[in-house]
């Protein structure tokens, strides 16, 4: 235990393993830092920008920054929380998020973050972009209207030979998720379920599944996202 790194988040004394990123370390210390692209155990992407924290006056993404000795991290401050809400709102207007008609509603992390950050309506105008739905895979539907391009599926999901089933296509505002038609055709039900579970929103949906949980019993119906985080240190 002696080699643990000591640091603080909003003044609270915390401890981390050497090399651990701030986000995982915060979680272990019972401090919630929101993120949509990060998943523990896979390479951080630093793309949703929600986990931005302030270190020595500079914003850094907690998922990509390793903890260092004596770091004083600001997390729950108006400047950062305001930025996070703005990013959530950007995601709502750049896609087509029809929560009432989404299989993932109630279990969706984007929606849950909007609840946690008390978004009533985005401050930005809705874009209503035209996006394609790809239902060519026998097991999955890719609904790009809902995709937030977090790259979780790209980073964590391969077929049994280690080949990527998901990848990005194009760039910038036209960026989209691409699914390999050939490789995805061979997915088992378990793999398809895993792909759906990785997706924080309702962009990867298993065919012939969904709406099987009554309202009131879903993950974020009663408690905000992040409520389950407890210190394990």
């Amino acid at each position: 235990m002696s080699e643990k790194i000591k640091f603080t988040i909003d003044g609270k004394e915390c401890f981390a393993e050497p090399g651990q990123n701030i986000l995982d370390a915060a979680t272990d210390n019972g401090v919630y830092i929101p993120a949509l692209c990060h998943m523990r155990g896979i390479k951080p992407a630093g793309s949703c920008r929600l986990c931005n924290v302030k270190i020595a006056g500079r914003l850094m993404t907690a998922c990509t920054t390793p903890v260092e000795h004596g770091m004083d991290i600001e997390n729950d401050i108006p400047e950062i929380q305001g930025l996070r809400l703005a990013i959530i709102e950007m995601l709502f207007v750049e896609g087509n998020h029809f929560c009432p008609a989404c299989e993932k509603s109630g279990n969706c992390e984007l929606q849950a973050l909007a609840y946690r950050y008390q978004m009533m309506v985005p401050r930005f105008p809705y874009e209503f972009p035209v996006k394609e739905i790809d239902a060519s895979s026998p097991k999955l539907i890719i609904d790009r209207n809902r995709c937030i391009l977090c790259k979780r599926c790209i980073r964590s999901f391969t077929d049994e030979n280690g080949k990527n089933i998901f990848a990005f296509k194009k760039r910038g505002h036209k960026l989209q998720i691409n699914i390999d038609a050939k490789l995805s055709a061979n997915l088992s039900d378990e793999m398809a379920q895993k792909a759906m579970d990785i997706c924080p929103v309702g962009a990867i949906i298993r065919k012939e599944k969904g709406f099987d949980q009554p309202i009131g019993t879903r993950k974020y119906d009663k408690v905000p996202i992040g409520s389950d985080i407890k210190s394990v240190i």
């Binding site: 930025l83 207007v93 990005f168």
Partner: protein, 598 residues
């Protein structure tokens, strides 16, 4: 399996990290990258089809369908538009018979727009089948289209060539250098190989120390001290080290690298070899933007010549164990690849998405090994620093900005071109030198830089006052600053964002729409307040330099030209959604055949 695709893949040893080169070769061989080729690549490289498409669809110059026997890429930069691009574009459309982003009915000629091609001093310009056509006029376009219809080779469509090496056998281009001012460092006497000979008598530490003492800072724009970067890299743990020269030069309005590559390639390669020596790097990569493909044969020939004269290759300059060689990596149309970590990703055959830091490239760069990425101008300067000494170098410039700087000047001025100036020159003096009059604004450092007005002309060009990566676009009073410049720049950033970070992908569009609302006369004061707030989010929240500076066109004009915005604002009302009922019902009324009844 098609043989030509197989040959190309074989040429690169089925190496996944050379995917860029494979795609570039196929694109140039058959004019597009057919699905069968994608499948073939995926099989040979043992990666999935979506992996190939991920790289392919990222770059502007790759295409998955035929785009014409002749492919016209007409530059669509702010400066090109200032110099009469719209007339040229119109003539192309009329003569070819199709609009931009289309191919003529017979499949012969394709018309496309492209971001700045590094010819801002001789606009309007286009690239046709890799060949650069400058100073286009409607009359010239008519001839070119007639030549294309007649099936002429692009090289035979003109017979007047530019100055200097542009006129050499392996280039034969109509591009002019437009070197307007020669300084003491770069455009002064140069004896090829002299610095290298001296360097091999020094230890690596001595070389790095000399560069440190010269206090030269990176000439790409960020201004990081070069010696320090070399030092960090050499002290990083790794199996091998790499040196990459960044000649991507995607910042609109910049073209100094073009002139370096044309006139000073030996100096550049010597600089790379010196860096290789200091870093103990055996491999150098020159990352070159696709737009400069017309220099490919010329540069490769020079690299070969240097190998033959023992300035590249093994035991360079007679020094045992000093091995260093260079390969050229072309890009394929992506501004963001000028960012060093995106450039590294691209050189590894991937989409040009900037990496997260840490680790920094000097720790884990190309192929996850310690890597120095230096700008071409930096590496050229290093040659003179080592030859003439750091003391000589620091005599020029200011206290914190030593030496000289190349500035690309374009826009509304009499003498557009490249100027080698000493740091510390007053902007006003610079503007006088280039023959600029009736100036409304100067865009310094490209779209990601700063737009300044009269008030700032007293400032000096140097790191301690007004730093720049090296370009000045001059905008005179007859231009509409917000519409013709700022909005255009925002479109540029929307197009060029890699799309990874949410704010850079989404907010750029939101900002541009807000600007459009103001331009449409629907702005209220609150729109300006929001614009400013949202621009600042861009600055803070994004991963790379592109995202952090993508709001600069709006932010710096809001700061320096607030009156341009305020005169468009209706100050009597506090809310205006900009909703236009007559426009909103137009489509449905037309569909059902009725007259809007408002």
């Amino acid at each position: 399996m098609s043989t030509y695709v197989k040959n190309i893949i074989d040429k690169y040893n089925n190496d996944e990290t050379r995917l860029m080169d494979i795609l570039i070769d196929i694109q140039s061989e058959i004019g597009y990258i057919p699905n069968e080729a994608v499948e073939q690549i995926s099989q040979s490289l043992n990666i999935s089809i979506v992996d190939v498409e991920q790289t392919l669809t990222f770059y502007h110059f790759f295409s998955q369908k035929p785009i014409g026997d002749y492919v016209v890429y007409l530059n669509n930069s702010v400066v090109a538009n200032m110099m009469g691009r719209s007339e040229v574009a119109k003539t192309f459309e009329e003569e070819v018979g199709c609009g931009f982003n289309n191919v003529s009915d017979d499949g012969k000629i394709g018309l496309y727009s492209t971001a700045c091609i590094g010819m801002s001093d001789q606009e309007p310009a286009a690239i046709i089948n890799g060949c650069v056509f400058t100073k286009l006029s409607p009359a010239r376009v008519k001839d070119i289209v007639a030549d294309m219809r007649a099936g002429k080779n692009v090289k035979e469509m003109f017979n007047e060539y530019g100055d200097g090496q542009n006129n050499s056998e392996l280039i034969k281009s109509m591009v002019f250098n437009n070197i307007r001012k020669r300084g003491e460092v770069l455009f002064s006497d140069y004896e090829n190989g002299a610095a290298l000979k001296k360097v091999v008598t020094m230890t690596q530490d001595e070389v790095i120390e000399e560069v440190k003492t010269s206090y030269i800072r990176g000439r790409g724009g960020a201004g990081f001290p070069t010696g320090l970067k070399w030092d960090f890299c050499r002290k990083s743990e790794g199996e091998i080290r790499y040196l990459i020269c960044n000649a991507d030069e995607g910042e609109p309005g910049t073209f100094k690298e073009r002139v370096i590559l044309t006139e000073l390639p030996k100096m550049l390669f010597e600089g790379m070899a010196i860096a290789g020596y200091a870093l103990d790097a055996k491999n150098g990569v020159l990352y070159l933007r696709s737009e400069y493909t017309y220099l490919k044969d010329y540069l490769e020939n020079i690299i070969q010549e240097l190998r033959e004269t023992n300035q590249l290759g093994e035991n360079i300059a007679g020094k045992q164990g000093f091995d260093f060689d260079i390969r050229i990596q072309f890009g394929a149309g992506a501004y963001v690849c000028g960012e060093e970590s995106a450039l590294i990703e691209s050189a590894e055959g991937k989409r040009g998405e900037p990496r997260n830091r840490p680790p920094f490239p000097v720790q884990k760069g190309y192929m996850q090994q310690p890597t120095v990425v230096n700008n071409a101008e930096t590496l050229c300067s290093v040659v003179k620093i080592l030859l003439k000494g750091a003391d000589w170098y620091t005599m020029m410039g200011t206290r914190e900005s030593s030496g000289t700087k190349l500035i690309s000047v374009s826009g509304d001025c009499r003498y557009p071109g490249v100027y080698e100036i000493e740091w510390g020159l007053r902007i006003r003096d610079m503007l006088e030198m280039v023959g600029a009059e009736d100036i409304q604004a100067v865009q310094v450092g490209g779209p990601s830089g700063t737009c300044i007005g009269e008030r700032s002309f007293k400032r000096t060009i140097c790191y301690e006052d007004f730093p720049t990566g090296g370009s000045m676009m001059i905008i005179d009073n007859k231009r509409n600053l917000l519409k013709d410049v700022v909005k255009h720049f925002m479109d540029f950033f929307i197009e060029e964002s890699c799309g990874s970070c949410v704010p850079c992908r989404a907010l750029t569009v939101i900002l541009k729409n807000k600007l459009q609302k103001i331009l449409d006369g629907n702005g209220v004061m609150n729109d300006l307040t929001e614009l400013k707030k949202w621009c600042n989010m861009m600055k803070q929240a994004n991963r790379c330099g592109l995202g952090q500076t993508a709001a600069n066109p709006i932010l710096t004009t809001l700061e320096n030209f607030p009156e341009e915005y305020e005169k468009l604002i209706n100050k009597d009302i506090d809310f205006n959604s900009g909703f236009d009922l007559s426009a909103a019902v137009g489509e449905s009324c037309e569909a059902v055949g009725r007259t809007p009844n408002l």
